[in-house]
Amino acid sequence: MNFPSDDALNESSETMEILGHKGISRRDFMKFCTGMAALLSLPASFIPKIAEAVSSKRPYVVWLEFQDCAGDSESMLRASKPTIAQIVLDVISLDYHETIMAPSGKQAEKSLMDVVNNQKGQYIAIVEGAIPLKDGGVYCCIGGKTALDIAKEVCGNAAFTINVGSCSSWGGIASAKPNPTGAVGLGEAVPGITYVNLPGCPMNVENVTATIVHYLTFGTLPAVDERHRPYFAHGKTVHDNCERRSHFDAGQFVRQWGDEGHRQGWCLYEMGCKGPIAHFNCPSIRWNGGTSWPVQGGHGCIACATDNNWDVAYPFYGRLPNVPGFGIEKTADKIGAGLAAATAAGLILHGVGRAISPKKDDDNK
């Protein structure tokens, strides 16, 4: 990543004037645009384009909550690049968000319907939480309307929808077996709409911002995989980018919480880490402004961004079977695809399998 000089924005002096009016310093704004270019893996020449895109009229955004815990809303409040204050005051016009908006009741509904009616096809919908389909949708009603009816109306009229968190992406914990309310993700509940999934428990807010900025800059959504997840955020496995990968390759595994290997940051595979089946940029962007991420906290990955993780990555402390020690790149997709069957067969018998590098493994004892 090349860091551009301040000259990169010289052509957009009008942009800088608008920003000055909004009370944002040139330096802060540059930092934001540069950070976004880096997250989206774009060359420095795109920075002025990003700057121009985010300084014009703010796009209308409405945020819906269904079967959720507001964890993704909380995650949004932790945004650091840009900050949440910059997002809601400078980048987007967030007109509806039940948890943090000022009005309630009828007035809140008016805010939502004003956007749906007046900005038809222009606004961005963000959905947090699963949608229960069973028994006519009675398990999640807001103002007497089902989550499904609200989603159809609001997301059906949006330019596109971003599903934040695992619940709206594929059903999340509400859809874990036996899925009593028939919870599904938005894509399944409202077929035919344009959407991007940003799963995770919660989603990482930096990826939400990057998705919006991508759209504002290029007029299109980022390229996605078959699960509708952007490659920039879900293109590689946690295992591929893990800071402890060298310990896996060297056969150095944590055996007990707090043992010498655990304190020295060895691989958590034996403690049940699901990094090899989880596609997420967690290890590279981390959380809370880069403070940490689960493996850094000494705990295995629970594959929170992987479809049905509550069922297929369980038990969380059971070791994954059959993860090759080397050449993971060649087989990662195969492992991902075969996951459901493999885990059903193998994980329940937790502790039965053996590590793949038995020799080095044994040296370790």
Binding site: E98, M101, K110, Y139, W257, R286
Partner: protein, 504 residues
């Protein structure tokens, strides 16, 4: 946080004592959560019920600066600073895209703050947005991420402690946490508390509304030892009944039970009897109207919330309950701060039983918790110095070591109130699991004896100036820090419904 209650329930079932480091790390994760969460609640979820943003545009920045400097030595208080904030708000309003602040109740007669106080509060609303993101990094360090900390284990924590490793909590982590805790205490003592007192002084009439059921439950918070449900906690365990601060009653978890009389569930033994969580059932059976609908039939079943009771009584939970139990128990620091706040506002302890009391108690608890953060950080550093790196008790990690059957419970005080998890384990698997959460204690529907829950009771008698803009209702419901959307129906004296309000 559910993680604590959950691992604690299993630790209780298996008889596990957690290592001291795990206890301290849990206290720190929880402590910083209290501080951050309460500040977000005050500024971002509740302040706009009291603060009129549009009025801030009319403020004189110089007088705002004078006001700010008269109540605190917080450094961001110059005329230029407030002028900058005002310009920012002005530009935002002039853009015509009001976003989160559109369609609100600006200009409502229930707003009482002078323009300058409104501008000061708006500035701090924005500052708090930045502050909360920074201080919660302590939880991200100890919990691996926030929200959804991931380092909880039955028996301890997964975050290693070792001053001689770069992959564990070390001296650098201690220094980082000391920095965060200082930042936390600075903001709380120099911004939040002065703002709270300033705002409260204009709304003293709210010490007369929103009382609620008058019974207050606290399970106790911040353990001093590693026993799963120890009564040895920094904020004490106890119950206040009927607003009587002269007696603190003990808590016995077996006296907790839940009704489903007005909830969309059915009990095998009939819906007029309550059940203890170990015998709890979650047989959902929706009997409400088919959507879309306008009204719920509140004479029958009308909610997904069960109705938790203690000795068949409704209980309020949350910061007010914790502070009242601590106050009545003679907790020295709580007594000092509560008395100082009451004196500042010129009111007696009875003022605590109110909407305003709930708001004040949250601030008091935030301050005292922020003061404790450095104490726990010091305890962790002390253990490191002694060479105690233990974070997990693994004696029951393998399910093969468990008894054939076991049952346990985990009591915890979440920021918004008492949380309990009850588990029954059979053959290494969960046989029954029930959570009784703060939202159901406070948002409880009526029970078989027709007793109302705290929200319902607290709203009775609330004056509403403009029936179309019932900001007064929001003040009381938001004062509980609700975790959900709920519906309030305002009924005129003839019993005819005049308006329906959804409180977010």
């Amino acid at each position: 946080m559910h993680a604590t209650a959950s691992v604690r329930a299993v630790e209780n079932a298996l008889g596990l004592i957690i290592p001291d480091n795990a206890r301290i790390i849990r206290n720190l994760i929880s402590g910083i959560q209290y501080v951050q969460d309460h500040v977000i609640h005050f500024y971002h979820l509740h302040a706009l019920d009291w603060v009129d943003i549009v009025s801030a545009l009319k403020a004189d920045p110089a007088r705002t600066s004078a006001l700010a400097q008269s109540i605190s030595d917080w450094s961001k208080s110059s005329t230029d600073y407030f002028k900058g904030v005002q310009d920012k708000v002005k530009a935002f309003v002039e853009s015509g895209q009001l976003g989160l602040f559109g369609n609100a109740y600006w200009g409502h007669p229930a707003y009482k703050l002078p323009a300058e106080a409104n501008l000061m509060a708006v500035a701090h609303y924005l500052e708090a947005l930045d502050w909360q993101r920074e201080v919660i990094k302590m939880q991200a360090l100890l919990g691996a991420k926030n929200p959804h900390a991931q380092t909880y284990l039955a028996g301890g924590m997964s975050i290693p402690v070792d001053p001689n490793s770069q992959n564990a909590l070390n001296a650098g982590s201690i220094a980082f946490m000391q920095g965060v805790s200082q930042k936390a205490l600075d903001f709380v003592s120099k911004v939040y508390i002065p703002d709270l007192l300033a705002v409260a002084s204009f709304y003293k009439d709210w010490a007369g509304y929103g009382t609620g059921v008058g019974n207050y439950l606290s399970y106790g918070q911040f353990p001093n030892d590693g026993e799963s449900n120890t009564a040895n906690t920094y904020f004490p365990r106890g119950i206040i009944k009927g607003r009587d601060l002269s007696i603190v009653h003990p808590v016995d978890h077996t006296k907790v039970s839940e009704y489903v009389t007005h909830s969309w569930y059915e009990y095998s033994g009939g819906d007029d009897k309550s059940r203890h969580p170990w015998e709890g059932e979650t047989n959902y059976k929706y009997t409400g109207p088919q959507p879309p609908y306008e009204y719920l039939d509140t004479d029958n079943k009308y909610t997904w919330l069960k109705a938790p009771r203690y000795e068949d009584m409704s209980m309020e939970v949350g910061p007010l309950s914790r502070m009242l139990v601590a106050y009545a128990s003679g907790h020295q620091r709580v007594k000092e701060v509560v008395d100082a706040v009451l004196k500042h506002l010129g009111v007696g302890p009875a003022a605590l039983f109110s909407t305003l009391g709930r708001v004040a108690a949250r601030g008091i608890e935030t301050l005292i918790t922020a003061e404790m953060l450095p104490v726990w950080i010091g305890e962790l550093a002390g253990n490191m110095k002694k060479g105690d790196f233990k974070i997990h008790n693994g004696e029951k990690w393998d399910p093969a070591t468990w008894p054939k059957e076991a049952q346990g419970y985990g009591l915890y005080e979440a920021p918004r109130g008492s949380l309990g998890h009850w588990v029954k384990i059979k053959d290494g698997k969960i046989e029954n699991y029930q959570c009784v959460v703060p939202g159901t204690w406070n948002g409880s529907p009526r029970d078989a004896n027709n007793q109302r829950g705290p929200y319902e009771e607290a709203l009775i008698g609330t004056p509403v100036a403009n029936i179309e803009q019932p900001v007064e209702i929001l003040r009381t419901v938001h004062s509980f820090d609700p975790c959900m959307a709920c519906a309030v129906h305002v009924v005129d004296p003839d019993g005819k419904e005049v308006i329906r309000i959804r409180v977010k």
